[in-house]
């Protein structure tokens, strides 16, 4: 069973919160839910909508056809009614115009309740829950948890009593599922990793991490700082890390552009840093509240000069959690930059899971005891100079200039060569580490191979259920690149199809560079919207013909 629900209205009407309530309640009742959020860059007005997919089996994406449309205004019906499934209907005020409208006299009920027009959502959602046969006690409990408002509770109850159950859902599975966005998971991963200071400047779609961490800083004893710009953000984060704090920054493409010089400083100074890059549609301002996978090569190559880095792209919110923990571990152990390469889609969509397992990696600051003759850039076999922090006897030096082992400025050929080699030597050891962290994942069985990365995982997995003879290779670590794994999967497949949410197939370029394999067939989407599984099924079948 799968049900597709759209909730739409103007910005400011509480669309996101209504959709969240629906998703949370179904996840609570034992169903799997995916919740996609679509909104333009404005605060009031416009057209906002959420799409939910509800199922008794795991689901990871949204579709663009609906069983129910909860319409807060006429605009929602005009824009989406044509995508209503057969037998589908619209829930809304009785004065709206729709072919299959289940309308209610909302203003009358609102007047009776003595509340604001916003209660319309709550009445409709109450009716919606009854239609799907959810128990009223459970409905009201969740409403209470989310809104803490008696009038809203009453409005939901009013709506609930307006209708009779219409849809019979299959038996639910395990109740109380997790219902979590990528941004929430990244913030949680950072807290679990022992974050001390988070630096960020507001930017969609990375801002939720700033907000979540800011709201948790006192409870979990860390600090959130919003400096004057992204340049200050990353330089301050490097300063804090040098001084001994576990620091992290978060941004999107435009802010990441500003951070580039300091990314290069990270490279030569070998100051540990975790960076969350949540992609949105570029170039420049682009389409700021929409999705893209356009920054893959930018993340891999950001910063002038040559230096190693870790880049990992989580495919859903659960992966966001564990990849963040891995990023902290690798950054601080190897004095390297770890980029968590997410995007709007994985960051702001809610995914549902039965459980989260305890992470294997335990937080550590990786601060060594200083030797008698402490050298900040000691040449070692694995390229990692023991990390110490200023404040004790050792003189801890960090430099943007090429340096000798003490960190003193040098222009000597010998040291320049040695330091380059030392920095790159780490990658061999990091690669051994990531080989144990599922750098790639293969789903399904078949002779043909779909290849993707990041947030397209969800729609590819949902499509895979309906595609015969296909495996899906998800590449999670983009640097160091798991060349051998990828090569092997490619060599063991007949048809190869690359799927990416960008205009040119950036992963295809990276695969070609790393493995020498060219993938000719590409399904690319660059209209700033994520793939639906239907998009993928249609296009894969077309390629096969």
């Amino acid at each position: 069973m799968e049900k597709q629900i759209l909730v739409g209205g103007a910005a400011g009407q509480g669309i996101a919160k209504t959709a969240f309530l629906i998703g949370k309640l179904f996840a609570n009742s034992g169903y799997y839910v995916f919740n996609y959020r679509d909104y333009p860059s404005l605060i009031k007005g416009g057209h906002n909508f959420n799409i939910l997919k509800i199922s008794d089996k795991p689901v990871y994406s949204n579709e663009n056809y609906y069983d129910v449309i909860i319409a807060l205004n006429q605009d929602t019906i005009d824009k989406h009614e044509e995508n209503l499934n057969e037998g589908g209907f619209v829930l809304g005020d009785k004065n709206l115009k729709a072919k299959n409208l289940l309308g209610f006299d909302l203003s009358n009920i609102i007047e009776k309740l003595g509340g604001s027009p916003k209660l319309g959502n709550d009445i409709l959602v109450g009716a919606f829950f009854k239609l799907f046969g959810l128990e009223i006690e459970n409905v009201l409990k969740t409403v209470r948890e989310i809104f803490k408002n008696e009038t809203i509770e009453k409005a939901v109850k009013e709506g609930y009593d307006l209708v009779e159950q219409k849809i019979k859902l299959p038996e639910p599975g395990k109740k109380n599922k997790f219902f979590i966005t990528g941004n929430e998971a990244i913030a949680s991963g950072a807290i679990v990793s022992g974050i001390d200071v988070y630096f960020a400047y507001p930017i969609t779609p990375a801002t939720p991490v700033l907000h979540i961490l800011a709201s948790k800083q006192l409870e979990h004893n860390f600090m959130v700082v919003q400096p004057e710009n992204e340049i200050a953000v990353i330089n301050a984060a490097l300063g804090a890390s040098y001084a001994g704090a576990m620091s992290m920054v978060g941004t999107s493409g435009a802010g990441f552009s500003l951070m580039n010089e300091a990314i290069s400083l990270q490279g030569i100074s070998e100051t540990p840093l975790v960076l969350y890059l949540s992609q949105r549609t570029g170039p420049a301002t682009g389409v700021p509240t929409y999705n893209s996978q356009g920054d893959l090569k930018f993340a891999l190559n950001a910063g002038h000069g040559e230096f190693p880095r870790v880049v990992v792209a989580p495919g859903d919110s659960k992966e966001c959690f564990y990849r963040t923990i891995e990023s902290f571990y690798l950054s601080y152990k190897y004095r390297i930059l770890s980029i968590i390469l997410g995007d709007k889609h994985v960051g702001e969509s809610n995914y549902s899971f039965d459980d989260f397992e305890e992470p294997k990696i335990k937080p550590s600051r990786f601060i060594a005891s200083p030797a008698e003759d402490y050298k900040s850039y000691l040449i070692t076999e694995n390229g990692v100079s023991p990390r110490f922090v200023p404040g004790e006897k050792a003189k801890v030096r960090a430099s943007s200039y090429e340096h000798d082992e003490y960190g003193h400025t040098t222009e000597k050929e010998e040291w320049i060569k040695k330091m380059n080699e030392k920095r790159f030597r780490k990658m061999k050891y990091i690669k051994e580490e990531i080989n144990k962290m599922n750098p790639v994942s293969v789903y399904g069985e078949g002779n043909n191979l779909i290849i993707g990365w990041g947030s397209t995982k969800g729609s590819i997995l949902d499509a895979l259920k309906k595609l015969e003879d296909f495996r899906f290779l998800q590449i999670s670590y983009l640097s160091p690149f798991p060349t051998e794994f990828v090569k092997k999967e490619i060599e063991n497949s007949e048809e190869l199809i690359l799927i990416e949410n960008n205009a040119t197939g950036l992963l295809g370029d990276v695969i070609a560079e790393k493995t020498g394999k060219i993938i000719e067939k590409k399904i690319l989407k660059y209209d700033a919207r994520p793939f639906t599984s239907e998009d993928i099924i249609v296009k894969v079948k077309k390629i096969l013909k």
Binding site: S188, A232, G239, A240
Partner: protein, 290 residues
């Protein structure tokens, strides 16, 4: 300790006769005096530099030190202090780095009042890139990048930082080492953001030695009251960083007041690396259970 204890043994590559030697000596003397008077723990001192001639001080001071990017001394310094508030952080910048590339950071550092010292080597030109004009070059300066002369009035860093809320504002003169040493000592001792604009000639590209020597005078000899903001602002505007015949260049402490510092305002800031965390994975993730 002795002043020489701060030496690194690295070869100094400033031009022979460069005024920066005066600043280096004053910094070393000030730190030594404070340490010897038990006012400073040398292990806890951290230097921060940007990029330009001034940055070479990184190699000449045997301190904990972070040599950052051009114009980015201040955000790095800010982060270091947040990363460990026990540290005494002394930042260095040039006038190009500070008043051109990194001026936004200067404005905000004054607002944050982060407890630290920031020393600007102000010779009014980009020296390491062979003498181009900076935002504090005198109007009309002919330089390789401005052969027709600069058209703008210089920024006045003293007035700017006063206006932005700095709690300690001073101007030093690199060729008056005893006087400068005292200013630096006071700046390091001051609880809050201490800003010192050190005027100096660049003997290679902007040799103002004679003029500066003739036109500087000491604020403390003119009965200046550094607790009075209006008076400080008036003194700040006495010199416009240009070279008029009647210029009077006040040096010394323009302004000094006590106010809450950034790290005092946010008590959750701590010496993080000494803080033992107990993270409860279950508790953190469970809040997202439906």
């Amino acid at each position: 300790m002795k002043v020489e204890d701060l030496d690194t043994g690295e070869k100094i590559t400033w031009c022979p006769g460069c005024a920066n030697f005066g600043i280096l000596m004053s910094v070393k003397q000030a730190i030594t005096n404070l340490v010897n008077n038990n006012k400073l723990d040398l292990n806890k001192v951290v230097g921060v530099s940007g990029v330009g001639c001034h940055d070479k001080i990184y190699d000449y001071l045997n301190l904990n030190f972070f040599h950052t990017l051009h114009g980015r001394t201040l955000p790095t310094l800010f982060g270091i202090k947040i990363g460990n508030p026990e540290l005494t952080v002394i930042g260095f910048g040039g006038d190009g780095a500070t008043y051109a590339e990194g001026i936004a950071h200067l404005v905000h550092s004054c607002r944050y009042n982060i407890d630290s010292t920031f020393i600007v080597f102000d010779n009014q030109v980009f020296s390491l890139t062979t003498g181009q004009a900076t935002p504090v070059s005198e109007k009309g300066l002919v330089s390789p990048s401005t052969p027709l002369g600069t058209g703008e009035k210089p920024v006045n860093p003293i007035a700017l930082t006063l206006n932005c809320g700095a709690s300690f504002v001073a101007r030093g003169f690199a060729l008056d080492i005893p006087h400068l040493t005292k200013i630096i000592e006071a700046a390091i001792e001051h609880r809050g953001f201490s800003f010192i604009d050190i005027i100096e000639p660049c003997i290679s590209y902007h040799n103002t030695t004679k003029f500066l020597r003739e036109h500087v005078y000491k604020l403390e000899e003119a009965n200046h009251n550094p607790a009075n903001y209006e008076e400080a602002m008036k003194k700040a505007q006495e010199w416009d960083y240009c070279y008029g015949e009647n210029a009077k260049i006040p040096i010394g402490i323009f302004y000094k007041i006590e106010k809450r510092t950034y790290t005092e305002q946010w008590p959750q800031i701590r010496t993080w690396h000494k803080f033992e965390r107990k993270t409860d994975f279950r508790k953190i993730i469970e809040r997202y259970r439906s």
